[in-house]
Symmetry: C2
Subunit: 423 residues, 2 copies
C-alpha cells in the first residue's frame, strides 16, 4: 500500500529546522506495518501544498500532512486542502470552545486570528489538540483506483509536542482499525550500546540466517553511541519468528542490550536502580550536566536521583566534591585519580549508594600527547569499590558529550546489573 507523507513549511526548505516529523512518523508507521513509500517536503505556499497533495492523492490511499494548521498567514494547509477537495469551511463551535479554554487556562489573551483554527472542512473529523490550539483533521477523499476504501487524508499540526500525542492517541488507533491486514506486522527492536554496527552484525547475522530464510526481516540502525537491531515479520508465524530471533540474539549479545523498542538508556538505568531501591548522585565536568539532564527526563527519576554537581571549574571540584588540591596539581583535572575522588566525594556528600563522575577534554583545545582531545575518565563509586574507565572520544563537542554520557550510563547499568565493567 502506498503511503505518502507531506511535510510543509518554508523553514524546512530553508533548512532552518530538522524535519524530525519525518523520522518520528515514518518510525511509528513502519512499526505498525505501514511503511511510508514517499515523503515530500514543500514550502507553505498554496500552490506547492496543493500540487504535492494532488500528486500524493493520485498515488496513495493514505496521505498524511504536517504543518500549516496554525493561526498565522503562512498556515495554509487547511484552506488549500478544503479548496482542492471542494469542501466548504465552517466554524466548529466545539473546537472554538476548546481553543478558548486553552487560552483561559493559561491566562493568556486570545488573538482574533486564532479563531481561524476552528474552521473545519465539510465532512472532516476533528482531532482535538490536547497540547495546543490547532486541531488535526481527517478527511475521506474519493476512491483510490486500487483500493476498496475511500482515500484518507490526515492533517496534523506542526509542533511535535502537539503532533506526537495526537498521532499516538487518535491517528494510530484509527489506522489500525482501518487497515487491519497491513498493520498485522510483528516488530521488535533491541537497543544496544557498547559495540559498533559491523561487529554486532558479525556476532548475530550468521546464527540468525535460518530465521531470515524463514521470513524474518533483520535490520540494523547505528546512531551515536548505540545500535538498534530490528526484527520484523508478517503472517502466521510472525510472532514465533520474532520471539525466536530476540531470544537467540539475547543469548549472543545479551550484555549489550539495555532495552527494547522505545526504551532509552537513561530510563533503563532509572528502572534498574528503582527495582533495587538504590540511589544515585552525579559529578560531571566535561559532560556539563548532560547525564543529570538525561536522568531527569525519566518520569519517576526523583525516587533514585539525589541530584548532581556540575563541577566545571577546578574550584568547584574542590569545594563541592572535596577533590584534593594535590590530586589536581599532581595528576591534573582529567585523570584517573580525579575521576575517582570526584565519584567518592559525590557519593559521600550525597549519601547515595552510587555516584557517577566524569572528567575529560571536550576540545577543541586542551589536549596533550598523553591525553589528546577526547580523553575521558569515568568514575563510578559503588558500595563495594570505585571503578574508573578511560575512553577516547575524539568527536565534536556535542557528540563527545553524548558518547561520554552513554559510556557513563552504561558503566552504571552494568555495575548495577552485576555485568562485566572493564572498559
Amino acid at each position: 500500500m502506498n503511503i505518502e507523507l507531506i511535510n510543509t513549511g518554508a523553514e524546512l526548505m530553508l533548512g532552518r529546522v530538522l524535519n524530525t516529523h519525518q523520522q518520528w512518523l515514518c518510525r511509528q508507521l513502519a512499526d505498525m506495518g505501514l511503511v511510508v513509500t514517499r515523503q515530500v517536503a514543500v514550502d507553505d505556499s498554496a500552490s506547492a501544498i496543493s500540487q504535492a497533495v494532488q500528486e500524493a492523492l493520485a498515488r496513495a490511499p493514505l496521505v498524511i500532512t504536517t504543518g500549516g494548521l496554525g493561526p498565522t498567514s503562512d498556515d495554509r494547509t487547511r484552506d488549500v486542502i478544503a479548496a482542492l477537495l471542494g469542501r466548504k469551511l465552517h466554524l466548529d463551535d466545539a473546537v472554538l470552545r476548546q481553543i478558548e479554554s486553552y487560552f483561559t487556562a493559561r491566562k493568556r489573551r486570545m488573538v482574533e486570528s486564532t479563531k481561524v483554527q476552528a474552521l473545519v472542512p465539510e465532512g472532516a473529523t476533528v482531532l482535538l489538540n490536547a497540547f495546543g490550539t490547532a486541531p488535526g483533521l481527517v478527511i475521506e477523499a474519493g476512491h483510490a483506483s486500487h483500493c476498496d476504501l475511500p482515500q484518507l487524508l490526515v492533517m496534523l499540526p506542526g509542533p511535535p509536542r502537539e503532533l506526537r500525542p495526537m498521532f499516538t492517541n487518535q491517528v494510530a488507533p484509527l489506522l489500525k482499525q482501518r487497515y487491519p491486514q497491513q498493520t498485522a506486522l510483528v516488530c521488535r527492536t533491541l537497543k544496544t550500546t557498547g559495540l559498533g554496527e559491523s561487529l554486532l552484525e558479525e556476532k548475530i547475522a550468521g546464527p540468525l540466517q535460518p530465521l531470515v530464510a524463514a521470513g524474518l526481516e533483520l535490520g540494523y540502525c547505528a546512531r551515536v553511541g548505540e545500535v538498534d537491531v530490528r526484527f520484523a515479520a508478517r503472517g502466521e508465524l510472525a510472532a514465533k519468528l520474532v520471539a525466536e530471533a530476540e531470544s537467540l540474539a539475547r543469548s549472543l549479545i545479551g550484555e549489550l542490550v539495555f532495552g527494547a523498542d522505545e526504551d532509552s538508556l537513561e530510563a533503563a538505568v532509572v528502572q534498574s536502580l528503582t527495582e533495587r531501591k538504590l540511589t544515585l548522585a552525579t559529578a560531571e565536568s566535561c559532560t556539563g550536566g548532560l547525564i543529570a539532564n538525561r536522568l531527569t527526563n525519566v518520569p519517576g527519576a526523583s525516587v533514585v536521583f539525589w541530584g548532581g554537581l556540575v563541577s566545571y571549574a577546578n574550584e568547584a571540584k574542590q569545594a563541592s566534591l572535596g577533590v584534593r588540591a594535590e590530586t589536581l596539581a599532581q595528576h591534573g583535572a582529567v585523570s584517573r585519580q580525579t575521576a575517582c575522588e570526584m565519584a567518592d566525594g559525590a557519593r559521600q556528600r550525597a549519601g547515595t549508594d552510587y555516584a557517577l563522575a566524569v572528567t575529560g577534554i571536550a576540545g577543541p583545545t586542551g589536549g596533550t600527547a598523553d591525553k589528546p582531545v577526547g580523553t575521558v575518565f569515568i568514575g563510578l563509586a559503588t558500595p563495594g569499590e570505585t571503578l574508573v574507565q578511560r575512553h577516547l572520544n575524539p568527536f565534536d563537542r556535542e557528540t563527545f558529550k553524548w558518547v561520554t554520557s552513554q559510556q557513563a550510563l552504561d558503566l552504571l547499568r552494568r555495575a548495577v546489573s552485576g555485568l562485566r565493567t572493564s572498559a
Copy 2:
C-alpha cells in the same frame, strides 16, 4: 528557479535515522540564494529512485540526489540515473586509482565489488571524494523548457562526512558560477524569545507591510520557547530592504531579540557574561541539569561558568545550597522563597557574580490547586538583588524543562543587559 532534492534510503522510510542531509543541504543552498522547492525521500529500490528523478527532471533545472553511490547491492542511484538518461557506464581509471589509494593508505584490502564505484556515466564530471571511496557525479541532462542552460543533476554520496566537504568544496563553487543571478540573495534572521508567534506577528507585521510591498520576504518560524523572524530580499535594493526591516523590527521588539542567524540563547548569554567579565553558577531542581548542559555546549563557557548543582532531592537543596528546612517546610520546595534561597545559596557558595535557580513541578504528578503541574519559580541572584519570576508551563516533561530553561536563560540575559526583568 525550481530546485529539487532527492534523498534515497530504506532507513529513511523506516524512520530509523533523521534526514540531516535535508536540513544541511537546504540551509547551504538557501543561504546561497538557491531555495529548494521540493525535497523527496524514497527507498533505495530502482523503481522508486527512477520515478523520483524523472519527476524532478520534469520540473527543475537543478536536481540533487543523496545516497546510493556505494559498493553494496542496495546502492543503485548511479545505475538508475545512467539508464534513465541513456548514458553508458565506463570504468574511469583516475577514479579507480583514487579508490585504490584510499585503501592502500588505510592498509585495508580492496574488495572486488568496490570497483563499481569507479563506473562513470558518459559525459559526467567526477567529484573526487576526499573522505571516502564513492565519488560524486555531475551530469548535464538535456534542457529545461524555461531555462537557457542544460539541466544539472548532482549526485552526492550518503555519509555526511563525505557529502558535506564535497558540497562545500566542489558543488557550491560550481553552483555560484553557474547561477550568478540566483545566488545574489540577502538573508537575515532575528532570534527571539518571550512572546508567541501570533503576538510577535501582531507587533511587527503591520509596520513591516510597506517593506513587504517593496519586495521583502517576511517569515516566522516558531520553535519551543523561541520564534525566528526571517527577512530576505533579492535585487538591487535587497541589502537596504533587509537592513531597514531589521532596524524597524528591532525598534518594535528589540528586547525580545537575543541574537541573529546562527545564535543560540545559551551562546548569547555566555557571550554577554564574557564581555562583562561576569561569572555564573546554576542551581537546578526541575530542569535537572538542562541549563548547565546548554551552557556547556558553548565553546568557551568555562570562562564564565563555575558549575552548577542539580538539587533534585530536598536534602540536596539543604546540603548543597543551604536552603533552610523551615523554608521548605513552610513554603514548600516549589516556592518563591525556596527559589530565592537556592539562588542566594548558589551565588554565595560558588562566589560568582550571578546565580540562576529553578524549582518547579514538571509533572505528571505533584500539582495542587495553588501550584498546578507546570508551576515554576526562577530565581536570579545578582550583585544587587535577588529576582524571582513565577511561570506556568503546563507541558510534557521534556518541553517543560526546555521552556523553563529558556525563561531562566532569558531572565539572566535581560538582567545582565539591563533590560526589564518582570515576568
